[in-house]
Amino acid sequence: MTDARIGAAAPAAPVPAAPPDGSPPAVDALLVATDLVKSYGPVHAVQGVSFRCNPGEVLALVGENGAGKSTVAKMLAGAVPPTSGSIVVGGRPLASGSVRQSRQSGVRCAFQELALVPDWTVAENLSLPDGAPYRGFSQRKSVVAAAELLGAFDLPHIDPQVTVGTLSLADRQLVEIARALAGRPSLLILDEASSALTPPGVAWLFQRIRDLTSDGGSVIYVSHRLGEIAEIADRGAVLRDGKVVGEFVRGGWTDDQLVSLMAGREAARFFPAPPARTTDAVALEVTNLRSDGVHGIDLVLGAGEILGIGGLQGHGQAELLRSLFGAAPATADSWSIAGRPVSGTTPVRSVRHGIGYVPEDRKREGLALEMSVGENLLVPWFRAYQLGGRPRITRERTWIDGVLGALSVRTRGPDERAGTLSGGNQQKLVFGRWMDRARTVILLHDPTRGIDVRAKQELYAAIVDLAEQGVGILWFSTEVEELVHVCHRVAVLYQGAVIDELVGERLTGDAVVGASMGLRAAA
């Protein structure tokens, strides 16, 4: 804790850092975490974190990736036993190391890495974790119960009978939150639970949180999105490198202060402006693109242009990017890459034509987690007959070091296993493999989802840098701010087609949100 106080006393700290375990609490705290430590071998993920959470309160845990937020959340949820320290819930020590016991004592968690079983139906996912394993299970009853639950939580559009694997990421997250809410928990932990949610989804989540806290429940809200924290959090703790470096209360902070506290340095939250375009060359042109979920989209992407794709998730953005990369079958009336006509494409041909793709799910589609950092960067550039392994890495060392340096990937070097990196750094790898490789077009699927502020800004800078080099960027983002500030143009998709294209004066946050709801602003 001493370390934490030193951190809190840093010059940038604007926050009245009330000693977390010093002064007596005004009310009996629902949750008291004292000196939590979690070490994985020599790595100290969490080193002495203490905080308390009062009944009816929303406590935010903020920090960059790798700051230890998720580990703290997992310890509270019982998924990970703390190396030392104690957690007291409602006056009783929490039996650690068992999710089941945590659940039974009223602590529930919606995890960042979704904890839903993809082959189970929504109904099974909602009902199976509760109760004994040796009892009857009726599909019918579980479906009825799930429909009731989803109805009560105002999620009637989710069909309890479909398998979770077929749902969109946002819907899966909603189901995960609904499951955590189902037991009327006294303490709800939301670990980046809003990362895939759209603005109305976040509004829905906040309504549920308010319902819960008005009943005396508490919420621990782990997030990167400062806007959400400003709206929902009563108090908060800032974590950095596994320690609490400061605390804040509602209204007593600004974005910049929090960001610099998280980063441990002065860092303004800002969006770089898109670079001025120097050429009228066209990087990618497609008319009437059709695919599963994409119903006739016309796109022209200029070289050096950043074209944002907006809209609510599930309106064809993922399918559009996958079709353009050739990962999903698609047809179009005309289709050209850098002026060269093509008739359809496959991922292999796309790479040859100069297209790069950063997919939605970095763990599943983006990286080979068991392979090294260097190999993951080189993946698109391996030919079967070429050198591989260590000799290849040595040969490409300059490029690898350049990419790792340009994106400030925090890694022990190209030989480290990609799976051990934090989320933001993994995302940088998926992005970095396309840098300085003579690309004409780069397709980005929400590359900043669930990564911390600093990593985001490093990615923005890299994106703008690529555009300056004349690469056309097609960028789907769920964060409207990004689209408004960093893009030249934004095309908003609605039900698989472009409903509106916003540029110049009309490119505002309200216009993007409006268009994604299916409203076409008067031009």
């Binding site: 995890f111 082959d119 009637p156 039900q495 709801m517």
Partner: protein, 332 residues
């Protein structure tokens, strides 16, 4: 609420969706086609004698395949299943000489359970890969079987044969009744108990199941134990129908059981597979040899035909999915 479309109220769907999801449609269709072809080539199947022999031929395979399915469902594979079968087979046959038949049956099932738990413990709690564990334990169980009985023999009597492999009523072989009992019980367990759903869940995503507060390791262990018990039932049926215990009897069933599970459309990564599909796939594979005999084809072709059936049944859904998605692309 994040999607603008109005809430869709759908009818309660039947088990059809579940069958499709579990990959059972293709093996069921394959079995129907196969049976029709069989009856056309050899109408004699529908006589009492042939029905009984055919049933006695496929029932042990179907039971062992169900055992294999359980292990595959939790994301494993059981290489020791043939050896477990041999061991239970000889335990049953030799113990019939010493103890009453029900006790011998219990002993055989107990041995199956013990073998399954041994594998399951090493896989679930030891964290070892199932293929390595079961490959190693196959050698142990195989040696034990030869230790118990080193040449075909044992005390299987005619009464036992009649009770397991005779006819209950004309045209209804008893063995099919026993298979149905085991299959229905297993179906109830997998589809109508929480444990059964946990078994599917563990295979689908071990991490998620654990994060949801379910004891994933215990679930895995129980699935292996259960698989051992079902396998021992197959071993008992085999000993009874051949009226002998044989320490090598299970060897041929290892690959057949894996083939049946593959033919049933189960996912070898776990989480997907159906009981009915597996039973019918085992029946199809088990009868190919007979069919070729009656069709006058050299029995060496049996394996080629089996392979072609597997290719077709496993490949058709894939081709079907590709075709429909291609058609959709053109239409939209």
């Amino acid at each position: 609420m994040s999607v603008a479309s109005p809430p869709v109220v759908r009818l309660q769907r039947t088990g059809m969706t579940r069958l499709r999801r579990e990959g059972a449609i293709a093996p069921i269709c394959a079995f129907v086609v196969f049976l029709l072809v069989y009856i056309v080539i050899n109408p004699e199947l529908l006589t009492r004698f042939q029905l009984q022999t055919a049933a006695n031929l496929v029932v042990p395979l179907a039971l062992v395949a169900l055992g294999q399915l359980l292990v595959v469902l939790v994301g494993g594979i059981d290489i020791s299943i043939g050896a477990v079968m041999s061991l239970c087979n000889v335990v049953f046959a030799t113990q019939l000489e010493n103890v009453p038949p029900p006790v011998a049956l219990l002993l055989a099932v107990g041995v199956g359970l013990a073998c399954g738990l041994f594998n399951g413990f090493l896989v679930a709690y030891g964290g070892l890969p199932a293929i390595a564990v079961t490959l190693a334990s196959a050698f142990i169980f195989g040696s034990l079987a030869r230790e118990v009985l080193d040449r075909p023999g044992g005390g299987v009597t005619k009464e036992i044969y009649l009770a397991t492999s005779g006819e209950l009523v004309p045209f209804l072989p008893v063995s099919l009744v026993w298979l149905s009992v085991v299959a229905v019980l297993l179906w109830l367990l997998l589809q109508r108990t929480a444990l059964g759903r946990h078994i599917y869940g563990v295979g689908s995503s071990m991490e998620s199941v654990r994060a949801a507060g379910i004891d994933a390791r215990l679930t895995k262990l129980l699935a292996f134990g259960l698989a051992g018990m079902v396998t021992s039932a197959g071993a008992v049926m085999l000993a009874a129908s051949t009226v002998t215990g044989d320490p090598r009897s299970g060897d041929a069933y290892l690959l057949s059981s894996i083939a049946a599970v593959a033919l049933a459309g189960a996912a070898f990564t776990g989480g997907r597979g159906s009981i009915i599909g597996t039973v019918l796939a085992a029946c199809t594979l088990g009868l190919i040899g007979n069919l070729l005999f009656f069709a006058g084809v050299n029995s060496y072709w049996q394996y080629v035909i089996s392979a072609l059936i597997i290719f077709t049944v496993v490949g058709l859904p894939v081709v079907w999915a590709r075709t429909t998605s291609a058609l959709k692309g053109i239409r939209s």
